[in-house]
Symmetry: C2
Subunit: 109 residues, 2 copies
DNA sequence: TCCATAATTCGAGAAATATAGAAATGATTT
DNA sequence: AAATCATTTCTATATTTCTCGAATTATGGA
């Protein structure tokens, strides 16, 4: 991953509404959620949310597909993976005992 | 980790000079680097860099200690750990096969 | 076709952030 | 004590980002 992609992803996540939306989508998993549903849950105006979701899509963290008149958003795990990998790149200078615990403590399931 | 801490960490990283500095410190490991050395490597002005390093410290991603007349900066792995954990929180709704590959591909050492 | 619904795009004003020069602080050397 | 060096703090300006209302596009139903 190149640095600009990483910056896009980080600034996409570095904003309250977008971080909330992203986490909602992470929890929703592969089923995702439609724009309106996200707007309701976050109590956000549709147009503002739309701009923010577009930001997440552009950053490669989320993808969307139209379903009738709604648009479904789904988290893109590969984007997340690229970002995390980039941040940990060349950490610890080949001494696994320094960073291994960091990765092991990421308990998600 | 609460959301505001996560936002602080993400916006700290979502800026070119800070992301560069952070990655330099990740690679430097526990030895860290002094402000002047970082400034030289990034070709940044000392005052601008200082403001940016302060941002990383405030976000809990880096810590600093004075050493004579220099100030050494060291990456704070616990901060990184908190952030990654927060981003992956409740992912995949208890289906490890969905997110396990993501974490496994973060090869750092 | 006409209407309603879901969501996006556009444009402008308000707010937040980044940078750099100048001055100040803290520590070492002479 | 004076000079020097490493770094930070202060302050103003320039830039970027955020949000909102209004208008627009796309789809499905009567």
């Amino acid at each position: 991953m190149e640095i600009n992609q990483a910056l896009d992803a980080l600034s996409a996540l570095a904003q309250p509404m977008r971080l909330d939306a992203f986490r909602l989508l992470v929890k929703a998993g592969p089923a995702g959620l439609c724009a309106g549903e996200i707007a309701t849950r976050l109590q956000a105006r549709p147009n503002t949310l739309s701009a923010n979701l577009a930001h997440l899509v552009a950053a490669g963290l989320v993808r969307n597909t139209r379903e009738g008149r709604q648009i479904r958003y789904v988290v893109e795990m590969e984007g997340m993976q690229r970002l995390l990998g980039f941040l940990m790149e060349d950490c610890c200078g080949g001494q696994p005992e320094l960073c291994r615990p960091v990765l092991e403590k990421i308990v998600c399931c």
